[in-house]
Structure formats: structure tokens, C-alpha cells
């Protein structure tokens, strides 16, 4: 009989404009049924992280952007996630923050929709090269994610509310306090100590730290 052990908290700080955040998100969603973890989704604002740390978006280096296009194509196949590097114009849009604010509003008001809406926003911007900044786009995403259409106008209006903007800033500052400089930022709470891990390529290490086993990409659990 398995001993009762309290679940270890694993926070995932992510931005939907970050393709590698989608990889980390899907992997952790698959593993939350395998590992004894409590996955906590923390949508944050990567623009704020870059601004505070002075770290540059990797896409600004042409060779890195080109490499990431190939890398993501291979990772898409390996993990069975339809992720594609978006065109630069989409990556760099300041209005991308609207989707972060929407996710923050969902975290505050109806967190049961956070996972589905995050996934739907990534499907739009990464799989289908669709907009995630305009109200109409966000309304379509919310409906596709299963949020009742009679609540979406109110939810969308929350993007402009001060408490939502403050909550997004607060989550971003929490990530910065853990030492974040990019996305995704994973924080595993191991015996009371937060361990910050950057990127979507440290899962075997994360497994090792959690006392769990890495079983690979688990493509059979793909939602696609």
C-alpha cells in the first residue's frame, strides 16, 4: 500500500507568447497524473521579466531564431504538440499582454478554465498563426476553451481592471524573486526549498529532484 505523501508543489510561470512554455505546460500537464505533484499554473508577463533583468529575447539574435524554428519543429514531433515558432511580428507585439491579462482574470475569477484557455491561446498563436491580442480573438478563444459565452464579455472587460493588471505584475514579480530571467520558469518546492529551473529541457533533472521517474515525452497522452 502506498504511503500517503503530501504532493510537492510545482509552479509553472509561463507566457503564451513563449513557444517553449507550451512544451513545458503540456509535459507538466501529462506528468501531473504520474508524479505526486500539485501543478500550479502561473501566467506571467515575459516582457516584464526581460525589462527587469536586462536579459534579451533570444529571438532578437537571428541565428537563435532560425535555430528555434528547427528545434521546435523537432520537439513538436517528439512531444506530439503542434507548436511552431510564430513570425517575428507576432512575437514582438506589445499587445500580447492582453492575453496575459485575460489569463490573470481567469486565475482570479474562474481558475477551472485556466488550463483549457492557456492551451487554446497557444493553439491560436503557435499552431494556427492566429491573433491573440484583439478582443474578438480573445472572445473566440474563451468560447473555444469552454467558458460560457454569457460570461465572456464581462471576463474580457476585466483585462482593463486595475486588480488584474496588479495581479499580473505581482505574479511576474514572484517569478523574478525566484531568480527568473526567461520563460518557462518552473519552481519545484522540495522539502520547503524552492528550486528554480528554466526552460523545457530539464525534466529528467526535475524528476530526479522530486524523487520521481522521467518516462519520456508520453506522446500517448497528447491532447492532439
Amino acid at each position: 500500500m502506498a504511503a500517503l505523501r503530501s504532493r510537492k508543489v510545482v509552479e509553472l510561470f509561463y507566457d503564451v507568447i513563449s513557444p517553449y512554455s507550451w512544451v513545458a505546460f503540456e509535459v507538466l500537464c501529462r506528468y501531473q497524473t504520474r508524479w505526486n505533484i500539485d501543478l500550479q499554473l502561473r501566467p506571467f508577463f515575459i516582457g516584464g521579466v526581460f525589462k527587469e533583468t536586462g536579459n534579451k529575447p533570444p529571438a532578437l539574435l537571428a541565428a537563435k531564431y532560425t535555430y528555434a524554428q528547427h528545434d521546435l519543429r523537432r520537439l513538436a514531433d517528439f512531444y506530439k504538440i503542434p507548436v511552431k515558432m510564430p513570425p517575428m511580428e507576432r512575437l514582438m507585439r506589445r499587445e500580447n499582454v492582453n492575453s496575459n491579462r485575460l489569463l490573470t482574470a481567469v486565475t482570479l475569477d474562474c481558475p477551472e478554465h485556466l488550463e483549457n484557455l492557456s492551451r487554446e491561446l497557444w493553439m491560436r498563436v503557435m499552431a494556427r498563426d492566429q491573433d491573440i491580442t484583439e478582443p474578438a480573438s480573445l472572445e473566440t478563444a474563451a468560447t473555444a476553451a469552454g467558458i460560457p459565452s454569457d460570461t465572456t464579455p464581462q471576463l474580457l472587460s476585466r483585462i482593463r481592471d486595475d486588480d488584474v493588471k496588479a495581479a499580473l505584475k505581482d505574479t511576474t514579480n514572484q517569478a523574478l524573486a525566484y531568480g527568473a530571467f526567461g520563460a518557462p520558469t518552473i519552481v519545484a518546492h522540495i522539502e520547503g526549498t524552492p528550486v528554480m529551473i528554466w526552460g523545457s529541457d530539464r525534466f529528467p533533472l526535475l524528476a530526479h529532484l522530486l524523487g520521481e521517474r522521467w518516462e519520456g515525452p508520453l506522446r500517448e497522452m497528447a491532447k492532439y
Partner: protein
């Protein structure tokens, strides 16, 4: 029954790059497990940075990399220790002489290339020792089993045009594959070169090579303290 042709995997590396040591040791272990022909390609990271551009990591990223290297090398059983002044090691002292010495060995007696590479990594990233002075390179060569006369002769060639050109060509070859840092691994899969950056694409590379990933394989570790 026909023997399957070994797939060529090139490892472009600079001994001043800590993640390159990790990739190097992992590939040395896996060349015993996989049907691959591992080709070591010492290059010049400074040349890569000039060719592709470079974003210097800020303090929080640099701090993270130190912790990450410790955790990764612990897991992989590579005896890594960060030098007291990594910025000086990488950006100021650099690796030009070391890169040329490795190139000379590659050109003349490549059977020593793997062990010389290892001894240079151990100098800088285990014992925090110099790799720029002739005496340092001779010491690494001795530990790599290179006979003293041969080592002295190769050392005398490191300013020769042929050696400089070869290091430049190797660096350019990596740039032509899209490299922007070290390590850069190029696996030749179905006639197509697949470039991987870093030491953390091994499981993906295994998948593309049709091989099995066994994790760190510490029992095959060769780096001795």
C-alpha cells in the same frame, strides 16, 4: 547480414565552455552504446560569437547557469567545479592557444584528441588551472599520454598558417550549420545534417537517430579527478 553504417555525429566544442564538457562526456559514453561515428571538432567559441552575435547573460541568468551546471554535472557524474573567475577564464584569457593545440593534435595524431580534450576540461573546470600558457598545454598533453617530443613539436606548430586555417575552417563549418554557441552537435540523419545546440538535446537526438536513450550512464564515465 550487412553491418549497418555508422551515423556520423560531429561535436563542435571549445574547452572554455562548461556545457561543452558535459556534452563531450555524454557523447563519449554514448559512442559505446550507439551505432555512431563520433567526430570531435574543436572550434573557437570567440569566432562563433563574432560570427553569429552574442547576448551576454545578465546577473540572474549567470547565477542560474552556475547552479544548473552543478546540478547537471552531479547528475551526470562529471567532476565539474566552477572557477573563481569564470568571466576572466572565458572572456579574457580565452582559448585560442588551446583550440590551436587541439587542432594540431587533430591534424597529426587524432588518437589523442579525446583524452587531450578531457585533460584540458579538467584543468579549467575541475582544478581552475590555466590553459593559455605553453607549460599548461604540455602538462595536459603529458596527462593525455602524448609523448613529450611529439607534444613539443605540435606545440611549436600552433602559430602555423595551416593550423590557424584549420581552426578557422572548423569554426566556419559550425557557423554554416547555424551555430551560435558551444556545444554544437551535428548529427547526420538520413543524409541531412541536424544541428543541436547545447548539452540537453540528447534524448531528442536519440529519437532522431533511432537509438535508445539510457540517461546519464555514469558507469561509463571516463573523467577521473
Amino acid at each position: 547480414m550487412a553491418t549497418p553504417i555508422r551515423k556520423s555525429v560531429e561535436l563542435f566544442y571549445d574547452v572554455v565552455s562548461p556545457y561543452s564538457w558535459l556534452a563531450f562526456e555524454v557523447m563519449c559514453r554514448y559512442q559505446q552504446k550507439w551505432n555512431i561515428d563520433l567526430k570531435l571538432r574543436p572550434f573557437f567559441l570567440s569566432g562563433i560569437m563574432q560570427g553569429a552575435g552574442f547576448h551576454q547573460p545578465g546577473p540572474s541568468k549567470a547565477s542560474y547557469m552556475g547552479k544548473d551546471l552543478k546540478r547537471q554535472t552531479d547528475m551526470y557524474k562529471v567532476p565539474f567545479k566552477m572557477p573563481r573567475n569564470p568571466a576572466e577564464v572565458i572572456l579574457i584569457k580565452g582559448s585560442l592557444n588551446a583550440g590551436r593545440f587541439l587542432t594540431a593534435v587533430d591534424m597529426n595524431c587524432d588518437q589523442y584528441l579525446e583524452e587531450l580534450t578531457r585533460q584540458l576540461f579538467l584543468r579549467v573546470y575541475y582544478r581552475d588551472e590555466d590553459i593559455t600558457e605553453p607549460a599548461s598545454l604540455m602538462s595536459a598533453a603529458a596527462k593525455a599520454g602524448i609523448p613529450e617530443d611529439l607534444a613539443k613539436q605540435l606545440l611549436s606548430t600552433i602559430k602555423d598558417q595551416a593550423v590557424k586555417d584549420r581552426l578557422r575552417q572548423t569554426t566556419q563549418a559550425a557557423l554554416d550549420h547555424g551555430a551560435f554557441g558551444s556545444p554544437t552537435i551535428v548529427a547526420h540523419v538520413d543524409g541531412k545534417p541536424q544541428m543541436f545546440f547545447g548539452s540537453d538535446r540528447m534524448e531528442l537526438m536519440a529519437h532522431m537517430l533511432g537509438e535508445k536513450w539510457y540517461g546519464p550512464l555514469p558507469e561509463l564515465a571516463k573523467a577521473k579527478m
